[in-house]
Amino acid sequence: MDLNPPSGENYANPRICFFHVLFKAGALAFYILSALFFDSFVIIFVVTVLLSALDFWVVKNVSGRILVGLRWWNEIDDNGESVWKFECLDQESLARMNKKDSWLFWWTLYLTAVVWIFFGIFSLIRFQADYLLVVGVCLTLSIANIVGFTKCRKDAKKQIQQFASQTIANRFSSTIQSAFTVV
C-alpha cells in the first residue's frame, strides 16, 4: 500500500468516508483534548468509549460493506458451535470498487490502532491505570475490526480464485464435451 491516495478518481462515497473517519478522529481528539477541559474522568471515559464503540459499529456494518464490500460476523449454529462468517461481493463488484475509498478505509483502520497503542504506552509509562483502561477498550475494538476485515479480505481473494478456476474448468469440460460430440 502506498502513502498517497490513488489519483485519477474521486471518492465514490464521500459521506460514508466522512463518517468512517469522523468517529475515529472524534474519539482520539476527545481523548487528547479532554484533559484540558474536563476534570472528571468519568466523562472522558464514557464519551471516548462511546465514540469508539460507534466507530466500531459504523466500520463493521456500514463502511466495510459500502467502501470495500466485505462483511464479517459470528453465528452460533445448531450444534452450539460458534462459527465466524466472512462474506464479500462477487468479483465484478469488487473490481468496480473505488480505489480511493478502499485506500482510505484500510489506512485509517491501521492508523488508529497504531495511535491507540502509542497512547497506551504513554499511560503505561505514567502509571495512569484509568486511562490505560480507556485505551485498552478502544484498542480492543480497533483490533477486532482489523482482524475481522483482514480475514475477510483473505477469504475474498481465495474465493475469487476458486470461483474463477471452477468456472474455467466447467467451461473447458463443456467445450471438450461439445467438441467430442460434434466429432
Binding site: S40, L94, R96, N98, A164
Partner: protein, 272 residues
C-alpha cells in the same frame, strides 16, 4: 482484490487457440449476473420482507434470529459466504445484509437488543433450553447496562466519583470475563461471547435497582429493592450457567456469579 493471480489453465487443445481461451475467461467473468454498483445509494423500488435467520453481530455484536429486514429484490449482488455447507436458502439473507440501507441495520440491531433482553431477563418459554435462547448474542446491551450502572453509582457517590465509575466498570467487565473462563475451565459447554453477553444482560435488574436507589434515599427501601433485584438477576442467570456445566459442578459455576452480583448489590446499597 485484483485478478492478478488468476490461474489460467494452459491446455494444448488442438481445436482451441489462445484467443479462444481468453474468450472463455472473459465469458466466465461475465457469467456473474450484472449487479448494482454498491456505491450507488439504493433506491427501493420494491420491498419484500424476508425473515433473516442470522445477522451480523458486534463482537459485541448483536444478532437476533427473529427480526426481519427489507430487501431489494431484483438487483442484489451475488455473494459468496465462507460456508461450504450453505444451501441456497441460507444465501438469501446474506444478499440482503450487504446491500441493505443503514437504517435497516440500525433497526435490526436495536430489535436484537430488545429481544435478547426479553429472552434473558423475563420469563419465557425458552428458559428450558438456554442454548437456543442467546444464540444471537450481542455485546451492545451489556455495554449499555454496565456503563449505565457505573454512571448511576458514580452519580450517587458524593466523593471520588471518577474512581467509583472506574472501579464499577472494571469490576463488572473483568468479572464477566473471569466468570466465563471459570465456566469454560470447569468443562462447561458455553461459548465465550454468549456467556459474556448473558452476564451483561442479567445486570438489567440491578440497573433498575440502582436507579431506584439513586432517586429515593430511604435505607430500608434501598435494602428491599436491592434484595428483590438481586434475586431477579440471579434467577435470570441461573438456568444458563447451570445447564452449561456438569451437574456435579453446578455449584462451582453458580457460586462466583452470585458472589459478583451480591458484591454489586452491596456497592449499590453502600453508596452514599
Amino acid at each position: 482484490m485484483s485478478h492478478e493471480d488468476n490461474n489460467t489453465v494452459p491446455l494444448p487443445l488442438p481445436q482451441t487457440s489462445q484467443s479462444d481461451i481468453e474468450n472463455l475467461i472473459t465469458a466466465s467473468v461475465q457469467l456473474a449476473p450484472s449487479t448494482v454498483k454498491p456505491a450507488c445509494p439504493p433506491s427501493p423500488t420494491t420491498r419484500a420482507s424476508i425473515p433473516v435467520s442470522t445477522s451480523p453481530s458486534f463482537p459485541s455484536n448483536p444478532p437476533p434470529s427473529l427480526s426481519k429486514s427489507s430487501t431489494y429484490v431484483p438487483a442484489a449482488p451475488l455473494l459468496h459466504s465462507n460456508d461450504p455447507n450453505a444451501n441456497a436458502g441460507r444465501s438469501q439473507p446474506n444478499i440482503n445484509t450487504l446491500s441493505e440501507p443503514v437504517r435497516e441495520t440500525v433497526k435490526r440491531d436495536m430489535l436484537r437488543i430488545v429481544s435478547n433482553l426479553k429472552l434473558v431477563v423475563f420469563p419465557n418459554p425458552f428458559r428450558e433450553d438456554p442454548g437456543k435462547a442467546l444464540r444471537d448474542w450481542d455485546l451492545w446491551g451489556p455495554f449499555f447496562f454496565i456503563v449505565f450502572l457505573g454512571l448511576t453509582l458514580s452519580w450517587s457517590a458524593s466523593i471520588d466519583k471518577s474512581q467509583v465509575f472506574a472501579v464499577a466498570f472494571a469490576l463488572l467487565a473483568t468479572g464477566a470475563v473471569i466468570l466465563t473462563l471459570n465456566v469454560l475451565l470447569l468443562g462447561g459447554r458455553i461459548i465465550f461471547f454468549q456467556s459474556l453477553s448473558l452476564l451483561g444482560y442479567c445486570l438489567f435488574p440491578l440497573d433498575v435497582g440502582a436507579l431506584i436507589c439513586m432517586l429515593k434515599d430511604n435505607v430500608v427501601m434501598k435494602m428491599v429493592v436491592v434484595c428483590v433485584t438481586l434475586a431477579w438477576s440471579s434467577w435470570a442467570a441461573y438456568p444458563f450457567i447451570s445447564t452449561a456445566v456438569n451437574p456435579r459442578r453446578k455449584a462451582l459455576a453458580i457460586y462466583p456469579v452470585l458472589l459478583m452480583y451480591v458484591s454489586v448489590a452491596f456497592l449499590i446499597v453502600a453508596i452514599d
